[in-house]
Amino acid sequence: MEQTVNIYLFGKKYEVPENLTIMTAMEYAGYQLVRGCGCRNGFCGACATIYRIKGDRELHACLACQTKVEDNMYIATLPFFPLIKQVYDIEKVPVNQQVMMQLYPEIYACVGCNACTKACTQGLNVMQYIAYAQRGDFAACADESFDCVMCGVCSSRCPAGISHPQVAMLARRINGKYILPSCDHLDKRVEEINNGAFNDLIADLMQKPVEELKELYNKREIEK
């Protein structure tokens, strides 16, 4: 007989097998999910969920697909959170803290409560990456926020109304485009291709009999 636990979905009690995740427990209870379910593997942030264990004051946040049920868990999903995403032209943004002041001035109203960090479903130091954004250190902000799945739980807890995931998104794009070193071998290869440097080689492969291609493939040298 499999072990079961009692959970409370939006306050209503269900008895479910203890080895389920919150997501599969909802399906076990009879829900057909449309919202609040995405990649089911912890990458997409669709299934942000908050819960409390009965008798415990602390509010927890997690991804429903990545978290096992526990006895006396009070669960509410957060399938959508109204983040503010500012529109900008990546070709024209200033690469300094001006851009943050223009687009996301509320980050300067951070009160340092650290509720965002405590709530992060990925265990990121959210308040720290916002601090980096405040001073225009996009590389550090990008690095610290890299594993963000943009579930929005941090923002739901923020007294200053900051949309942390969108701030980090902007920082990462600026970092990727303007701050990471440019890549010479890539530029060179694109130019070679545009100049037709490989046209003959490719044309030759296009018309080669399959037997010859098999020979080429089976005898190719593999880089160590």
Binding site: N19, L20, E27, Y28, A29, G30, Y31, Q32, L33, V34, R35, G38, C39, R40, N41, G42, F43, C44, A46, Q66, T67, K68, K85, V87, D89, I90, Q122, G123, F146, D147, V149, M150, M169, R172, R173, I174, N175, G176, K177, L180, P181, C183, D184, H185, L186, R189, V190, I193, F198, L201, I202, L205, M206, L213, K214, Y217, N218, R220, E221, E223
Partner: protein, 533 residues
Amino acid sequence: MYSEKFKAALDAVAAKRDENTAYEPKRMTADEKDALLKKYHPDYRVDKFETLKVGKNKGEKVPTELAAMLQAHSRIAGKQIPLDTPDYDVDVLIIGGGGAGASAAIEADKAGAKVMVVTKLRMGDANTMMAEGGIQAADKPNDSPAIHFVDAYGGGHFAAKRELLSKLVCEAPEAIKWLSELGVEFDKAPDGTMITTHGGGTSRKRMHAAKDYSGAEIMRTLRDEVLNRGITVVDFTAAVELLLDENGAAAGAVLMNMETKELLIARAKTVILATGGAGRMHYQGFPTSNHYGATADGLVLAYRAGAKLLYADTLQYHPTGAAFPEQILGALVTEKVRSLGAKLVNKNGDVFVHPLETRDVCAASIIRECDDRGLGVETGNGFGVWLDTPMIEKIGGAGTIEKRIPAMMRMFGKYGIDIRVEPILVYPTLHYQNGGVDITADTMTGVTNLFAAGEVVGGIHGRNRLMGNSLLDIIVFGRNAGRNAAAKAAAVKQGGLTLDHVTEFEKQLKDGGVETDLCSPKLLPDYTREVRS
């Protein structure tokens, strides 16, 4: 956390770790691979396939579960749907909000077309988001598009459409450059050199990555750009049928709000199908690494409208799906784990295959180990083999795992398994639809003005895809489809809309003797436990 019952097997792996780390297993010959695949690869299990009775691929075999969807009734069969007052009227309608759809949207918008993306879940809810390992491009001095071509063509068993594959490899460096310029953070050395690794079946290290969030990093950047451009995105809305004009050209789609079930009509001058894959069809009962919405919708829509499919009988089973703990059964363990040096080891602690054979060969080897040879490890949900992750730190030094594959460390860490010091259990998982809708080099399907890009397409990779060529294909062909569909839209004279092809298909089902109660497309898998109602 591993319970006591795994102790003996864990000890066996640890005891041979040093020896195994240094050991270079030999690669199989072409004949050995053929024999292995025929005996153990799921694509060769004839009893799991069914011959189609209707449509352009009549007489060909496809997975039983897919046949049931391709030969099911339309969701709108018998309904009277007024088509003369469309709810949306655009130049280019893009169905699907993953990497291919987003790339197409950006390029079509850039070309000046009025674009609309419809997606049945949210923008970015797609297999793209879950691609971990990387994206191939021959941009190093010791590499070339021609070498990339040979690797992919051979890896795909010499079955790829060469005009598609040559486009893929020749436009790969440009795709990386485009992504970099949009702000995708590729792993680079301080001098800007791309940090690249091998994937299974590559002969050069051309796998570019953004840690092990490569697809997520690409997807969130593309999504951000789509939103910056103000492109219309209609989410939680599925396409349930294509609309044609009187001449049989694609001219829009019937849409369904996933929450309210309201039907809506979108009229368009051209349509791009970017609906992705089929892992959630769970062919042959396999678990899957795929997104919740991967249910082969695009194949169904295109097939009913008269398009032809190519290689719909070949699926990719990723060799390393998580086999333990059961909460993450089937979840992808990126091939990058093997690129970085981890080897596959059986219950006796012996390496049984070169870790960088192609995916189909690795998957078949694991099945053989667990099947006839009886050398798999019992997991409680079946069998698996070890993927010895601690080897990575022996080769690359302490800290390599946290730096290069943080998502894997997190995924197992949540269940008390520290992959830096303990190996993990893996078994093949349904990962990718190798086949799909047949397209020409200009990305058009057999239906005029119906374009396709991404996993829904078949033929680019032949009968097996190499790691890192899928993220590449969604970018290259997504962009091409966007540009081509926008250009074509400018010249299209729209006629009246019709659903006659749906009526005609229903007739074919009847004439072909297909008896079914099912409707398609499937849209979402049904994981709800049956409760009395």
